[in-house]
């Protein structure tokens, strides 16, 4: 394990820790801008992937990439489904959301699955999967799915604000 890899892992864990902390608090939700950050993350991830891994993409790479993407979609959708709503205390017509403990702990599921799949892919000869860009792509996809699910739930879960 190189220093680079170690620092990557620590940075990734720090980011996830920050995300989880934010998910445990009430934060404002703007449906119009909720997808902006995930799309940016995903785009950076794809660019990094294209730069780093172009050339010898194999079946192993694509298969594991697809599996991990589907996993991010599932985890993101689950987090969105577990989000609770309330009316903002300052502006009664705005919405605040909170993912809650169960939703935040889904990050562990994603991390554990990713570690396992990465090891498996490495043993089978895949190299694309372990790139940094993949982490950003997965993050973007999962946040995007979470935002989409929350957006679709907004009318139904609208709080009884006057």
């Amino acid at each position: 394990m190189t220093v680079q890899t170690l620092s990557n892992i620590l940075i990734a864990l720090a980011v996830v820790g920050l995300l989880m902390y934010r998910q445990l608090r009430w934060r404002a939700f703007d449906p119009a801008r909720a997808l902006k950050l995930p799309i940016i993350l995903g785009a950076i991830g794809v660019v990094l992937l294209a730069q780093g891994g172009a050339g010898s993409v194999t079946t192993v790479d694509v298969t594991f990439l697809v599996i991990e993407l589907l996993l991010s979609v599932g985890v993101g959708a689950a987090m969105g489904a577990l989000t609770s709503f309330r009316a903002a205390t300052e502006a009664p017509h705005a919405l605040e959301v909170r993912t809650g403990g169960w939703g935040a702990s889904l990050w562990f599921v994603l991390i554990a699955a990713r570690v396992g799949l990465d090891l498996l892919a490495g043993s089978l000869g895949g190299h694309l999967i372990t790139q940094t860009g993949v982490i950003l792509l997965l993050l973007g996809v999962s946040r995007a799915c979470s935002a989409l699910v929350v957006r679709s739930r907004v009318p139904a879960a609208a709080p009884r604000a006057s």
Binding site: T58, T59, V62, T63, F64, V66, I67, V73
Partner: protein, 400 residues
């Protein structure tokens, strides 16, 4: 209907098409090729083909949906072992599954995810190269897109059918409303004919009885002749109303709204009738009602007829005054009757209060008739001081 199939006739071509496809793939699968076929692939492939034939024949419902899922997943499992031949089953099943309007998004995503994972793992196990994997994934994506297109068009069809049904309902409602309005107009006319004519007859015959008691045969004979004429007029009116009832469609409203060519009752006629029955009426203003159209004239004449009829019934000793005036391009006709200290109640209405004249259907019909003119004409009837006033106001189009 939830699976999008409409009637049995339009299903047949699609069923046959699917069965032919199943047959072709089965023959291709079982026909011996150079390299020995993978037994697992063949067996699972046959399961997928059987399920494909099953959902092609099955009617919409849970069974068909289950067969679709089985066919899609088994086909995905068999893709690797059959050199991607069974991707045909996957594509056909995914298209039909996504096209079902009642399938929710999460159901579609789950099925596609399962198939994607199965295809990927199968390719890994079979050491397939990247183009193979990308092409089967491409087939899956294509199937989803085609299915979504078909689903959208089915939803659009359903919405159009709903719109058509609602339009038919609305048309039925308006037809019924027109019919009810027809009937109301007919009821008004019949009331007018019977109430006024028969009411007048009753008064005349009362007078005849009184005259006979007093021995005045000449006067009685004269009254009888007048009553005879009143009855003849009333019968003609009734015949006209019944004739209008028998006419079909919306023309009946038009017929009832316009005066019968043979019925030229004018305000002057009503005044003459009132006086001939032995009651007092004063006239002020223009009785010819110039400047109003025929529908308004009919309404005004009926209103005066109703007011005079009620004056005869409830305040027979009082003088009725008919006033016609024009102001601000409106014609106002009012009938003022001084109310006596005790108003004679209508003997036919049980429980009528002693001091309150009961106008019943006549007033309702009068109000409806003016409302039906639809040009801002109004009529009001009520007490003003010691008089009972019926006032009608219509806009005038013509010059005075």
């Amino acid at each position: 209907m939830s699976n999008g199939t409409t009637d049995g006739n339009s299903r047949l071509p699609r069923v046959l098409l699917n069965l032919v496809a199943v047959l072709i793939v089965a023959v291709w699968l079982l026909y011996p090729r150079g390299v020995g076929p993978d037994p697992v692939g063949v067996i699972v492939g046959l399961v997928a083909l059987a399920a494909w034939a099953g959902w092609a024949i099955a009617a919409a419902g849970g069974t068909r949906t289950t067969l679709l899922i089985i066919s899609a997943v088994a086909g995905a499992v068999a893709v690797e072992g059959t050199d991607a031949l069974l991707i045909s089953a996957v594509i056909a099943s995914v298209i039909s599954f996504v096209a079902i309007p009642t399938i929710r998004l999460w159901g579609v995503v789950t099925l596609v995810a399962v198939i994607a994972v199965v295809l990927g793992v199968g390719s890994l196990i079979g050491h397939r190269d990247l183009p193979f994997l990308l092409s089967v994934y491409g087939g899956l994506v294509l199937a989803v897109l085609v299915g979504v297109t078909r689903r959208q068009s089915r939803l659009a069809d359903a919405r159009e059918r709903q719109l058509l049904a609602r339009t038919l309902d609305a048309e039925r409602e308006s037809a019924r409303a027109a019919l009810l309005a027809d009937r109301a107009a007919v009821a008004r006319d019949i009331h007018d004919v019977l109430a006024h004519s028969l009411g007048g007859l009753v008064i005349q015959l009362d007078a005849v009885g009184a005259l006979l008691d007093a021995g005045q045969l000449d006067g009685a004979a004269q009254r009888v002749a007048q009553a005879h004429q009143l009855a003849i007029d009333g019968l003609a009116d009734a015949r006209r109303a019944v004739g209008a009832l028998r006419e079909e469609g919306a023309t009946s409203i038009a017929v009832l709204g316009t005066p019968d060519p043979t019925d030229d009752t004018s305000l002057a006629d009503l005044v003459a009738t009132h006086r001939s029955l032995g009651f007092a009426v004063a006239v002020e203003g223009d009785l010819d009602l110039s400047g109003v159209d025929s529908a308004q004239r009919t309404a005004l004449v009926r209103a005066v007829q109703e007011a005079l009829s009620n004056a005869r019934r409830h305040a027979p000793q009082s003088l009725a005054t008919i006033r016609s005036s024009t102001a601000d391009s409106r014609m106002v006709v009012s009938i003022v009757t001084a109310l006596p200290d005790t108003v004679i109640p209508d003997a036919t209405l049980p429980g009528t209060a002693q001091n309150e004249p009961e106008h019943g259907h006549g007033l309702i019909g009068m109000t409806e008739r003016f409302a039906q003119l639809g040009d801002g004409s109004t009529v009001s009837a009520g007490r003003r001081g010691s008089d009972f006033v019926v006032e009608a106001s219509v806009p005038r189009a013509g010059a005075s």
